[in-house]
């Protein structure tokens, strides 16, 4: 058996699965073609959405006892019961944020953060304590509105395969001040204030789109205060300090669009930042060869209300302010609907990105990479 081919095939297959270049890895082109055909033929037959949602519903509600997962017989208590054949729910993708925060507590630091910022920072040698959810009872007026609608020019956007778009709803405790250090993963970032008052001081020039639509250019190292309706336009790689200058929690919607093949999104976690807001991140993104339109909307949904699929050449992400009380069913085509949470309305924030083909009247904002 030709050992070199065996090893080459192994490396080729691992690289292909990882999405890495495979061109020079396999000297036998026929073997490589066979692998490709094998995978191409396979790429069909997904689990049905109704099954996926129904199973999840059963899993999160079932009384699952800790035990052996080796594959023996299931006892009755562990068997999903599928009691609700229709109208099932999928909790919003907020959990990565909490998972990341919990891990800070559990293992105190973690290698997962390691590569992100290679600078040693003595201020955080033990990791910040997890913040008690600054959350709840949003006092924000529940009115549907377009909160932010701008064009970002192509030259400031990340390119290539390693792009990530992340949306998260953040609470900042009253009086909290935190510093975000320079990091990897360059790309645009916005912070839209829903409630409260927060001041940002950024190491680089930024912009603020005020609630009335006016745009202010903010010089580096200059503090700027944001109130409800205002949006900071900055970049993820810019260092900044943020202070809740009020006594009530600040509520913000944060969006980043960054580049890094190994990135994942957990929302900024400065001192006092946290809460039960939803999180939605994706690395399945269309290519944007030119400028993009970025629109942030607030929706107020009756049970069952939602949005149809979004255009395939764009991105739609959605978060809710409180994942314990506001639950959406989100489908793979980015359509979603509100689940009946005891008859209450659901507030949802959608961030939609689309090619800026015919948006001449919208303001153009955004900052170049440094």
């Amino acid at each position: 058996m030709p050992d070199h081919l065996m090893d080459e095939l192994d490396r080729f297959w691992d690289a292909q699965l990882a999405g890495n270049p495979t061109d020079a890895l396999l000297s036998d082109a026929g073997l490589g073609e066979a692998v490709r055909r094998f995978h191409t033929a396979e790429d069909v037959d997904r689990a049905g959405a109704s099954f996926v949602n129904r199973l999840w519903d059963e899993l999160v509600h079932a009384q699952v006892a800790p035990g052996d997962a080796s594959g023996g017989e299931l006892n009755d208590a562990m068997t999903p019961r599928f009691m609700r054949p229709v109208d099932t729910m999928l909790r919003h993708r907020w959990l990565a944020a909490i998972a990341a925060a919990l891990l800070i507590v559990i293992v105190g630091g973690i290698a997962s953060y390691y590569v992100f910022d290679r600078h040693e920072d003595k201020r955080y040698t033990t990791g910040p304590a997890i913040n008690a959810p600054a959350t709840p009872s949003p006092t924000v007026q529940l009115t549907p509105a377009t909160l932010f609608d701008v064009v970002l020019p192509a030259e400031i956007l990340p390119t290539g395969d390693g792009r990530l778009s992340g949306l998260v709803y953040i609470y900042v405790e009253g009086g909290a001040t935190g510093t975000w250090l320079n990091s990897c993963c360059p790309g645009p970032m916005i912070e839209h204030v829903v409630a409260g008052e927060i001041a940002f001081t950024t190491k680089a020039a930024t912009q603020v789109v005020r609630a009335n639509g006016s745009i202010e250019n903010i010089a580096a190292d200059t503090e700027v205060a944001l109130q409800p309706g205002d949006t900071l336009v900055t970049r993820n790689e810019f260092e900044f300090r943020a202070s809740n200058i009020g006594t009530q929690p600040v509520q913000m919607v944060e969006w980043v669009y960054v580049s890094d093949p190994m990135a994942y999104f957990a929302g900024h976690q400065l001192e006092g930042w946290g809460g039960l807001g939803g999180l939605d991140a994706t690395q399945t993104l269309p290519t944007f060869p030119s400028s993009i339109r970025v629109t942030l909307n607030r929706l107020v949904l009756e049970p069952g209300d939602g949005k149809p699929p979004f255009q395939t050449d764009g991105i739609r992400q959605v978060v809710v302010p409180n994942v314990e009380t506001e639950i959406l069913t989100i489908f793979g085509d980015r359509s979603f609907s509100a689940v009946d949470s005891q008859g209450q309305l659901t507030t949802a924030y959608t961030l939609e990105v689309s090619p800026a083909n015919s948006t001449r009247d919208l303001p153009i904002v955004g900052l170049p990479a440094t």
Binding site: P2, M6, L9, W13, D14, S27, A29, G30, L31, A34, F38, A41, E42, V44, D45, R46, A47, F51, L55, W56, E58, L59, V60, A62, V64, P66, G67, D68, A69, S70, G72, L74, M78, T79, L90, R91, R93, L95, A99, A100, L102, V107, I110, A111, S112, Y113, V115, D117, E120, Y124, G127, S183, N236, V256, V258, D260, Y264, A266, Q269, E271
Partner: protein, 197 residues
Amino acid sequence: MANPNSVVTRAALSDADAELVAAALLDRAAFAPLYQQYVDPVFRYCLRRLGSRESAEDATSQVFTKVLAGLPGYRAERSSFRSWLFAVSHNVLVDFERARRPQQELDGADLIADPDPGPEDAALATESRREVQLLLASVPPDQRRVLELRLAGLTTAEIAQALGMTPNAVRVSQFRAMTRLRLVMGLAPHRTGGPDA
């Protein structure tokens, strides 16, 4: 220690999975991202092994129920979550296959008919799955197990952990399998750079 106030990290996938497992130990709902990521690969793995959507759904349900129940026993330092998940899947499927033998062996295309053939738009999917099943049926079972996990996206190391094999045994199996499949596919043997293979 690195700065923990990160918004985006470059953690390896397995690290991210391990973090989510840690969170899910405290709150089962925190398992959601892992479920979303893996429910489809597991379902397809089950479908490939069992041949019907109904059976695959049953098996997938058991896999995730067992995984949730077994999370406290998962050790990230021993294996990636993905390899552990597919080890559980493999064991569940072994039980399924054992329970229904000899009525339905996956040794021929005539045994993979979906009991819910569905509308026309399902025809292509069924046909494609049939092609894969035919290919898989042309290699011995031990090689087939390796290829099925390759289709599920596992690396050599993860397949070795999931199936309890050595990495070298995985390499040998997949090489033999793909050498065989290349012939089945009608692809010419390697003829460049030296003597014929």
